[in-house]
Subunit: 209 residues, 4 copies
DNA sequence: AATGAATGAGGATTCATTCAT
DNA sequence: AATGAATGAATCCTCATTCAT
C-alpha cells in the first residue's frame, strides 16, 4: 500500500488571508511555537497575547498581522500539531503490512511524538474541554481513531482479533495511550520504549490474556 | 468485609474558617452545585463569579463569604466530587470478594457516577491541565489507582492475572474508562451498561484475548 | 490662677444616642483603642471595620451598635485623644505661674503624651490632610495654640519676649514640637527629655540666641 | 561656587520600562499632574484611577501603560516633586556664600515652592503617615535636612551659631517651616514674604532672642 | 447586645483588540 | 511589517453598611 499523499496543507497566510514571504512564514511559525509553549505552561486563558509577543521581543501588531484573534491562533496551533502527529504516524507504519504490527507501531510513534511535543499534550487535553475548541480536536481524534479502526477491521477479517466493535477497541487504545503518556511520560519521565511496551501488552492482551 | 467508615469530612466552613449555620451550609452547597454546572458548561476562566451569583440571585458578597477566592472555590468543588466518587466506588464493591469482579464493579459504578455528574468530567479533565489545580486531581487519581492496584495485586497472587506491573495495569484501566466515558457516554449518549461492557471486555482481554 | 474646670465631656453613647451601661462603655473604649492602633499601623482607609471587630473577636454588629459609621468612629477617636492631651497639658502647668516655664512644661508634657500615644501622632497627621477630618483637628490645634498664645502674651507684657505676633510664635513652637517628635521620638526612639531639651532650647533662643 | 549639575533624572519610561516617545512623555506628565491635583484634593485612597483618567478624557488602559500600579504612580509623583523642590532650593542659594543667608534663602524658596505647589504639601504630609510611602518621603526629607545641616555646621565653625547638634537645629527649622506653611500659606492664604519673615525671625532668635 | 448572612456599589487591574504612524 | 499608544469592557475582590434572628 503506497503512503497516502501528504495532507494538503494550505500555505501559511496572514490575518487577512494574504500569502506570506519567507520571512513572514518564519515569524508566524515562531509565534505558534512560542504560543504553544506558553499556553501549555500556564494555560490558554492565563496567557496573554502581550506575553507571547513580549517573549519574542516584538510588538502586539505583529501578532494581529498574522492571526485574526487569539482564538484563531490557538486553533491554528491545534491544527498544525494534529497534522504533524498524523504525518508521523503514517510515516511510521508505511512499510508495515501486518495490521497488528501497524497498531503497535502507531502506538510507539505516537508516544514518541508526544514525548517530543510535551506542550501539545496539555493543549489537546485542555482544548477538548472547551466548546470553542473541542470540534477541531474531536475531528482530529476521529481521524486517528479511523486509522486504527482500519487496522483492527483488517485483523478481524483475518480472524486474529475477536469480532467486536472495532471503533470501541480503537477508542480504548487511544484512551490507554493518552493516559499512560500523561502518567509515565510526563509525570514520571519514563522512556518511550518502556511505556510503549506496557501499552502494547495491555492493549493486546488485557489483564487476563 | 464491613463497609469502611464514611471518610470523616470536615464540616463546611466560611472563607474565614468559621463553622456554618444550616442555612449557610445550604448556600454553600448551592454555590458549588451551580458553580460546577457553569464551569463545566463554559469553562473555568470564561465563567465569572458574577455569573455564578447572578444565577442564584444573590449578591457578590455571598460568594466571598463562603469561599476565599474563585480558585479556592474550584478546588473545593474538585475535592468534594472526588470524595463523592470514591465513596460510591467503595460502596459498590463493599460486598464483593472476588478481586476481578471488584475491578469490574468499580468500572461500572464509576461510569454510572460520571453519567450522573456529566459536569465533573470536563472539570476534572480541565483541572488536570492547569498547574494550579493538577495536584489535587493527581492526588485523587492516585487514590483511585491505588484502589484498583490492590485488587490487581490480589488477583496476581491468586494467579489469575499475569505477573505485570500492577500500577501500569491500573492506570491503563483508568485511561480506558475515562476515554470511553467521554466518547460514548457524553458525545454519543450511550448507556452506561453498553459502555461498561465494552470497557470490561477490553480491560480483561485486550484486542487478542 | 485656678485650674480650669475639666472640659465637659459628654458621656459615651451608642450609635442611636442612648446612654451606655458600664459594660457598654468598656466595649466602646475597647473598640476605640483597637481602632486607633490599627488605623495608626496601616492607615485609615486600608483598615476595614471587619479587621477591627475581628481583632476583638466580636461581630460587625457590635461596631455599628456603638458607632454610626467608620467616619464617625474615627472622629470620635480624634476627639477623645485631643481632649486627653489637653487635660494632660493643663494638669502639667497648673501649678506654674511663670509664663515661659509654662511653655516649657507644655512642650515637655506634650512630648511625654505623644511618647505614650505613638498611634495618635500618625492619626493626627493623617487626619489633617483629609477634608473630612481636618476641621476637628484644626479646632483642637487652635485650642492648643490658644493656650500657648496666652502664655506668650503674658511674657510679652512682662517684657520677657520681644514684641511679635504671639500666634505666629505659638504656631512655630507647635511646628518644632511635632516635627521633632516624629523624627526623634518615633523614628529614632530617643528619650522625651533629650528631645524636650532640644525643642526648648531652639524655641527659646533660635539658632543665634 | 558653581551650581551643582542638575541631578541626572532617568528619562521617563512606561510600566514595562520602555522609553517613551514625545507624545508618551507628555501623557505621562499629564497624568502625574492631574493625579497630584486629585490626590491632594480628595486624598489618595478616595481618588480612583478611574477618576484620574476620566478627568483627562482617556481610557483606563492609558494609566497602566505608563504606571504599573496606583501605588507606584503615587511614589513617582512624590519623587518628582522632591526632586523639583530640591532643584529650586539649590538654585536659590547657589550664589550666596554666607551660611546663615543660605538658610534664610532656603526657607524663602521652599515656602515659595510650596505656595506654587499647594497640592504637594498635603501629599507629603499624607505620605509620611503611610508605611508604604514613608520611606521615600523620609529619604527626601533627610536630603533637605542634610543641606541645612551643612550650612549650620559652617556657621558654627565661624562661631556665629552656638555649638549645638546641627541636625536637631535643621530638623527644628524644617518643622517650623512646614507648620507655618500649612497654617499661614494654605489655611490663611498669607503672602510668602510675611510667612518667610516670621519663620526666619523665629528660627534665628527664638522667643527670647 | 450581638451574630451570621447578605448587599451591591465600587476599586484596582488585565487584556483582547484597534489605530495612527 | 511593525510599533507605541489607546480603548473600555470585564474580572476578581473588598468593604461599609444593613438586616433577620
Amino acid at each position: 500500500m503506497p503512503a497516502p499523499p501528504a495532507p494538503h496543507t494550505t500555505s501559511p497566510v496572514d490575518a487577512a488571508g494574504r500569502r506570506l514571504t519567507t520571512r513572514g512564514q518564519k515569524r508566524r511559525a515562531q509565534l505558534m511555537l512560542e504560543g504553544a509553549r506558553l499556553f501549555a505552561e500556564r494555560g490558554y486563558h492565563p496567557t496573554s497575547v502581550q506575553e507571547i509577543v513580549a517573549t519574542l521581543g516584538v510588538g502586539k501588531g505583529v501578532f494581529y498581522w498574522y492571526f485574526s484573534s487569539k482564538e484563531e491562533f490557538f486553533l491554528e496551533i491545534l491544527r498544525a500539531a494534529q497534522t504533524d502527529l498524523r504525518r508521523r504516524q503514517q510515516a511510521a507504519i508505511a512499510d508495515e503490512t501486518d495490521p497488528i504490527r501497524r497498531v503497535e507501531l502507531g502506538i510507539e510513534e505516537s508516544l514518541r511524538w508526544f514525548r517530543e511535543h510535551r506542550e501539545m499534550f496539555n493543549l489537546f487535553q485542555f482544548a477538548i474541554t472547551q466548546e470553542k475548541f473541542a470540534p477541531v480536536l474531536r475531528q482530529g481524534q476521529q481521524v486517528a481513531v479511523g486509522d486504527v479502526v482500519r487496522h483492527v477491521k483488517e485483523a478481524i477479517v483475518e480472524g486474529r482479533i475477536r469480532d467486536q466493535d472495532p471503533e470501541l477497541l480503537a477508542q480504548a487504545i487511544v484512551g490507554v495511550m493518552s493516559h499512560l503518556a500523561r502518567t509515565y511520560l510526563y509525570e514520571r519521565d519514563e522512556s518511550v520504549e518502556a511505556v510503549a511496551d506496557g501499552a502494547k501488552a495491555f492493549c493486546l492482551h488485557g489483564l487476563l490474556g
